[in-house]
Symmetry: C2
Subunit: 468 residues, 2 copies
């Protein structure tokens, strides 16, 4: 938690941006049950609530009145019996005061008060709910069919998208834990170890140092499966382990790194060829990202590096410019270069990716060259983004492209026919996938890598981290 | 997952118990979001769904028709695009066949089909929902105010409360991981280590060996705070660390152990006096628990051991029988001796503790001697229960009793005045609390401790586990 002046200033700025437009309604999280109400997951506060109110405590809600700028915190004080079971607990008034809020009320007054404002036809602004409990709560106080507020989304994004120095400090802390997690994974990357053992060990580190992982880690020899949380594999000779994992500091800020580690520490020549291309694409992003550059252009510049490399291996044909313009790289990297990071590892994804990663000047594109990019708009100093190029050989995707080519039709068929050497590509069907991800802060005159030390990334560094 | 015959037999038995009474509706779980929809907690299936359908996959639901005994599994097949991102996935038909279900339908047919049955005035039985997402789903298909089915609750409890050999094997696996977690905690229990480091390390072990913890571990030098998940403390000389933690096997079955470890491994004389009393109360339960004995009587027998010991230390006065009958022990152990265990660490707590731990013969009591007992009814072979006596010095509870005594009134005041030596008790206000918990299987002729080896518990074993 930051000092209370931070939260007072943030709320004042939000109220100013929304001035005269009614009530801003921010429900916090309740506990999230695993298999019965009393058995809960690690508590995680809603990030926007955390940003404006700083309190990682279940059962709170808040309202900001944009006419007066006044904030009210809603929550119930603990009873004597609660205190017997839970130990001494702060009172709501004390919690509120610790983040500079002067008005408090019991939790029941939240729904009642908002319901009353709705009845008096005051405008009520809320963000898209994503937890069932929040949806149920909003359902009790809002008219059926009430829609989340785009004005509020825009106002929140315009504040949360750039990080202050004290936020960067927290992200650096999460990066330090991420470093430990990844180097531990490397030290365990030996024949016969299970993916689950490594996933559990690194999640353990994140829990020892902070609030745990910033997302469920991917620890898989099938790096080509992008959303892979199956950790049942046993490490085999000749394969690579993709580890995509980050930590959450106790403040809620996230880190997010990916490394791809050969089992036993040494790449084969074929692996190293692909690895070097991905590493060059990652490094390039740090050479060129700077305020005012659009992130879609950084993505496309990295794609050029990928295409150049894949061309030299005979997997892509034709000119680099044409192949990138057509989106030929998206067979090998069917995702964007990165995303904003902050209190969420995909920052503000709950609010809506298109408001976070795009704007009027750079709307989301459906073109294959960047259709799956989470982030496209111009960079600004203070933004934190992930940089995560990859090359994957996804059998189902290669099939889809190849059959489009056979069918002779559609955009995909044309790219496939024009730029892909499927005979070569299919000789890589057993390859898996490589991704290399770092976290980048945009500075006034360029960018810098987050984390005191870069997580081992060159083949030599990796070999050393695996074999000690 | 067990073999499909197990699930076929379980569903047939449930249908028989509910024969001719309409539809049994069992929604499975969807993913549970942390801070946005795509960032989810570790998936945990609903335990009753897991018991009858064995599939730990999000987005499923099931209906059992008690007229025909027929089961239908609802869920959506993955699209080609899903498979590109998630790798090859089994089809719903294959999932269903793997647990002996012949009929499947798309997920949307679940709510539609149940809604239609409701419209035709068929009786629909469901269990109490505890996740927001499940409440929202049920809300779309059931009439407003529809109540969970007590018939179904009773039928499910009558099956899940006794464990088969294959279930016991799974609980033993969770116990083996629990053993590792606790001995690791002991080896770390040294001056200057943080509670968080230990909590994270043992949760890491549970993730390395299975699905993770069976509940959010308690790792605290304030063992007197019963629901304590604050792990910010640093281990101090002269204090004890209470560790209440268990693992969940990949099948979902739970273990649950508590140990109380002196920082550095050696108890002070005052700590050892109290520790020996709690250990004797734990051991006694294993001496007397056997089928047909009511668990409330095992609780009271353990309470006698506590009272006997506390009397010899001068904290309780009067006769042992009178003190236990009055409930004087509940100042020091304000909870019951244990609870049923199985797919949930508090087995079937979602369904309702009073149906699980009590029955018509042994209804829940409000008497102070066992008012907070989760489990009171007669033991039967195949039941798994926790055995967890404790002695705590809870300042807020001592205050409450003492002020009741002063006020001279009420049941509490009488117990306080009759049996408690507050001057002695208050000399222990800085003591903390001790709990010692093991897991017990009721066998046809008595009981046995679960786990291949008992987690170190004598002061000598503890000293060795701390100091190697």
């Amino acid at each position: 938690m930051f000092k209370k002046e931070t939260y007072i200033a943030r709320r004042a700025e939000l109220a100013r941006k929304m001035e005269g437009r009614g009530l801003i309604v921010l429900p916090g999280h309740v506990e999230s049950p695993v298999n019965y109400r009393g058995n809960t997951y690690h508590f995680r506060q809603d990030s926007t609530f955390l940003y404006y109110f700083g309190l990682s405590v279940p059962g709170l809600a808040a309202v900001i009145d944009t006419d007066t700028g006044e904030a009210t915190l809603f929550g119930n004080d603990f009873t004597v019996d609660d205190i017997i079971w839970m130990g001494p607990q702060p009172r709501i008034g004390d919690l509120a005061a610790s983040v500079g809020v002067m008005r408090t009320a019991p939790f029941a007054a939240f729904a009642a008060g908002v319901g009353e404002a709705v009845a008096r036809e005051r405008k009520v602004h809320f963000l898209p709910p994503y937890r069932g409990e929040t949806k149920l709560l909003l359902g009790t106080m809002l008219p059926a069919g009430a829609a989340p507020s785009v004005d509020l989304i825009r106002a929140v994004v315009s504040m949360r998208d750039k990080k202050s120095d004290e936020e960067i400090e927290q992200i650096e802390e999460a990066c330090a834990t991420g470093y430990e997690m990844h180097t531990l994974a490397m030290s365990m990357c030996h024949l016969g170890v299970t993916e689950r053992e490594i996933a559990g060990a690194i999640e353990g580190v994140s829990l020892q140092r902070g609030w745990g992982v910033s997302f469920h880690p991917i620890v898989s020899q099938h790096g080509e499966t992008l959303h892979n949380h199956n950790h049942s594999g046993v490490l085999e000779a000749g394969r690579m382990l993709l580890v995509d994992a980050g930590a959450e500091a106790t403040s809620g800020y996230a880190s997010d790194f990916t490394r791809t580690i050969p089992v036993g520490g040494r790449f084969t020549a074929r692996q190293k060829d692909i690895y070097d291309i991905v590493l060059a694409a990652n490094n390039l992003a740090f050479d060129i990202a700077t305020p005012d550059v659009r992130y879609v252009d950084v993505h496309l510049a990295s794609a050029r590096v990928l295409v150049d490399g894949l061309r030299s291996l005979g997997l892509i044909r034709g000119s680099i410019d044409d192949a990138v313009a057509a989106g030929a790289h998206s067979l090998f990297m069917p995702h964007g270069l990165g995303h904003l990071m902050g209190l969420d590892v995909h920052d503000m994804e709950d609010i809506g990716e298109n408001y976070v990663g795009y704007d009027e000047e750079t709307p989301r594109s459906t073109h294959p060259s960047c259709s799956a990019c989470r982030m496209g708009r111009r960079l600004e100093a203070g933004m934190v983004v992930s940089v995560e190029p990859g090359i994957y050989f996804v059998p189902a995707l290669i099939d889809k492209w190849r059959s489009s080519e056979g069918a002779g039709g559609g955009t995909l068929g044309k790219i496939a026919a024009g730029f892909i050497d499927f005979a070569r590509v299919e000789s890589y069907l057993d390859f898996g996938g490589i991704r290399l991800e770092d976290d980048m802060l945009i500075t006034p005159d360029g960018n810098r890598l987050l984390g005191a030390r870069r997580v081992p990334i060159t083949p030599d560094e990796i070999a050393k981290a695996v074999n000690g």
